[in-house]
């Protein structure tokens, strides 16, 4: 190398590193969480008189939803958020809109991972107590065109509101292999989900940017940057938190647990400016299968060691939130095997102990017991009618369509296998709690209950 060549190279090296140090000096990550605005919960009235619901002629059996009393303590209602028949649906998430409505997202297609899977959305109007029409937000083709790269499938949409008030929608895309080959894309909306920006890909992993998936609800740090709970599945499984600046660029990544500890799909529960608890799905090989919890008391700077919680977990996603009074509410399959029951649980001691407030779905008692198709389909119809009052109206065509859709999944191998999974829960500003989950992989079920109902259940279970 000649003298001038060497000088030119030295100049180039010094220039590059000066620029890099200048850029790095502007990078700053502060720790501490932003607490969500407390909901405007109305004063709890001792009793809310509601009209007695019409007696359902069909669907009354020992597994049906509890009969509503004439005088109900609060509101508890359910619907189907998705409306497309004969498709597979999965992985719902919810976000409150500025006008108090709730928008849901999920993926839907001929089967999970198929090329025709799209990210769909619908809006729930609490005033009218109905879900609007299902719309396609994005899919494989539009994502591929926008990202200028091959995309094989899409999945797991998670929506949230950013610090600037816009809606952000994260979803996973896979170019190669199964879900372990996922990366995350981000779309934003300034009109509460009516229209969306082109997707952008987040680069989060050095190995072909694969294996970062999203499921849990994002949260905000005190400085307005966003924390996105994610997880890694390729080679080993572990939970992480991505940190995004206000423009959606990845500025940091924190590993919550080492690979091999089976932590997946973290849910972050912000308890104070400095304290948060992470609950994760357990996907390890231990004989005792429990939700794993990881805590911080330093605003997310340091996270403690993963420990087993008292919540059972059959290697399935869970959801949780912090109530304004500090209690924790969780929904999960509270069993070590199978996803055929779903339970609403509460903790009054920061997650140390939990107790069940309500069994939202319970089919585990019938596992492997129903052998004939007609009996199975009667059960499916009964469950569907109890999930959505609208199915009792009309000539029964709608209910028949729902049963026929669910049949493909529930009665797939000639048995009668139910699945209630991937719950996602939010609390809206009026204090209502909305829960969405996969109902037998064919519909997204939505459950809403209010503060009064919750208080009533708490009193009952004291």
């Amino acid at each position: 190398m000649g003298k001038y060549q060497r000088l030119a190279l030295l100049g180039f090296v010094l220039f590059a590193f000066t620029l890099a140090l200048f850029k790095a000096s502007g990078w700053h990550v502060s720790y501490g969480f932003r607490l969500p605005e407390p909901p405007l919960v109305q004063a709890v009235t001792p009793a809310v008189v509601v009209a007695k619901p019409p007696v359902r002629k069909r669907g009354r059996h020992r597994f049906q939803r509890e009969a509503e009393p004439t005088i109900a303590m609060g509101r508890f209602d359910s619907h189907f958020a998705s409306s497309k028949l004969h498709t597979q649906t999965h992985a719902a998430s919810l976000v409150e809109l500025k006008d108090g409505r709730v928008r849901a997202f999920w993926f839907s297609g001929s089967r999970e991972g198929a090329a025709d899977v799209t990210i769909n959305s619908a809006v729930f109007d609490p005033a009218r107590n109905v879900w609007g029409a299902e719309q396609v937000v994005t899919g494989r083709d539009s994502t591929q065109r926008a990202l200028h790269r091959y995309i094989a499938k899409v999945g797991n949409p998670v929506a949230t509101r950013a610090a600037d008030g816009s809606l952000w929608l994260f979803y996973v895309t896979v170019s190669l292999g199964g879900w372990a080959g996922s990366s995350i894309s981000l779309m934003t909306s300034d009109d509460d989900g009516v229209s969306w920006s082109a997707p952008r890909r987040l680069v989060t992993s050095p190995f072909i940017n694969i294996s970062t998936l999203v499921k849990g609800a994002p949260f905000l740090y005190a400085d307005g940057t966003m924390g996105l709970p994610v997880y890694h599945e390729f080679v080993s499984k572990f939970a992480e938190i991505l940190r995004l600046d206000k423009t959606g660029k990845v500025i940091d990544k924190q590993r919550l647990a080492a690979g091999g500890q089976g932590t997946l799909q973290p849910v972050v529960l912000v308890q104070s400016e400095k304290e948060a608890l992470v609950l994760t799905r357990y996907s390890g090989n231990a004989e005792i299968r429990r939700v794993v919890s990881i805590a911080t008391d330093s605003g997310g700077r340091h996270w403690g060691k993963p420990v087993q919680s008292s919540l059972k977990n059959p290697d399935a996603a869970l959801t949780a939130l912090v109530l304004p009074d500090g209690k924790l509410l969780a929904v999960l399959n509270d069993q070590e095997w199978g996803r055929d029951s779903l339970s609403l649980q509460i903790s009054a001691d920061g997650g140390s102990t939990w107790r069940e407030l309500r069994r939202l779905e319970e089919m585990s008692g019938l596992r492997n017991k129903i052998k004939d198709e007609p009996a199975c389909l009667r059960l499916v119809e009964s469950l569907a009618r109890n999930s959505e009052a609208r199915l009792d109206q009309g000539d029964g065509q709608l209910a028949a369509g729902h049963v026929d859709s669910a049949k493909l999944r529930v009665n797939a191998d000639g048995g009668c296998a139910f699945e209630f999974s991937y719950p996602y829960m939010i609390q809206t500003h009026n204090g209502d709690i909305h829960l969405a989950y996969t109902w037998n992989r064919t519909f997204i079920k939505h459950v809403v209950f209010d503060h009064a109902w919750l208080q009533h259940r708490l009193k009952e279970h004291q």
Partner: protein, 206 residues
């Protein structure tokens, strides 16, 4: 409209296709001006979306954006191929010592990065690539050391990666993605491994 970072990412993938195109027999039969046109046309073809996806986009989906080290090596390979087809020398642009130093560096960082990034332990070296000043200073010192050892390619590759990261050349905000990519890591490990094995065998024979 295509974002700048999409164009840079696709162009990196296009380099691979251009190298393959220059292996076609037709490339050897062209005159130099015709070959320049051929390369330009091939670039357009691989960048042009057909049914929503270009060849460069397909490759980009499979392997991600190529690091600047890969781009540098592919660019050099393209130049060498063009020179050879024009009747010039078949020598590589970089001498063997330079190439070895770069590939050895890439092998070491591949071993430091990938196992831990894929879940070995709680520490994730990839995190330092978001803006770790210590990481940047370490790379600067390594570059200066390499220059003192009369190495050209290693400091050039590192400085190019650092500059590209500073300018936001790709969609990644992580410096590691500018230094190394998975296909290059495999190539570097295989080359260095083979070289070490050869030296061991030669030593045994001696």
């Amino acid at each position: 409209m295509m974002a700048f970072t999409d164009w840079t990412g696709l162009s990196g993938s296009a380099l691979v296709w251009l190298l393959l195109a220059l292996r076609l027999p037709v490339a050897a039969r062209l005159t130099n001006p015709q070959r320049a046109l051929f390369v330009a046309a091939a670039y357009c073809v691989v960048m042009l979306p057909v049914f929503g996806l270009s060849l460069a986009g397909w490759l980009r989906g499979m392997v991600g954006d190529l690091s600047l080290s890969s781009v540098l090596l592919l660019g050099a390979a393209l130049f060498t191929r063009l020179r050879l087809l024009a009747g010039g020398a078949a020598d590589t642009v970089w001498d063997a010592r330079d190439r070895f130093a770069l590939l050895a560096f890439l092998s070491v960082i591949a071993l430091l990065l990938y196992p831990f990034a894929l879940g070995v332990g709680i520490l994730d070296p990839y995190r330092s690539g978001f803006a770790g000043i210590a990481f940047i200073v370490a790379l600067a010192l390594l570059s200066l050391w390499a220059m003192r050892r009369n190495l050209l390619l290693l400091p050039l590759a590192i400085a190019l990666a650092v500059l590209a990261w500073s300018l936001g050349w790709y969609e990644s905000t992580n410096l590691w993605d500018y230094l190394i990519d998975a296909p290059l890591a495999i190539y570097a490990l295989a080359t260095i491994g083979k070289s070490l094995l050869f030296n061991v065998r030669r030593g045994n024979r001696a």
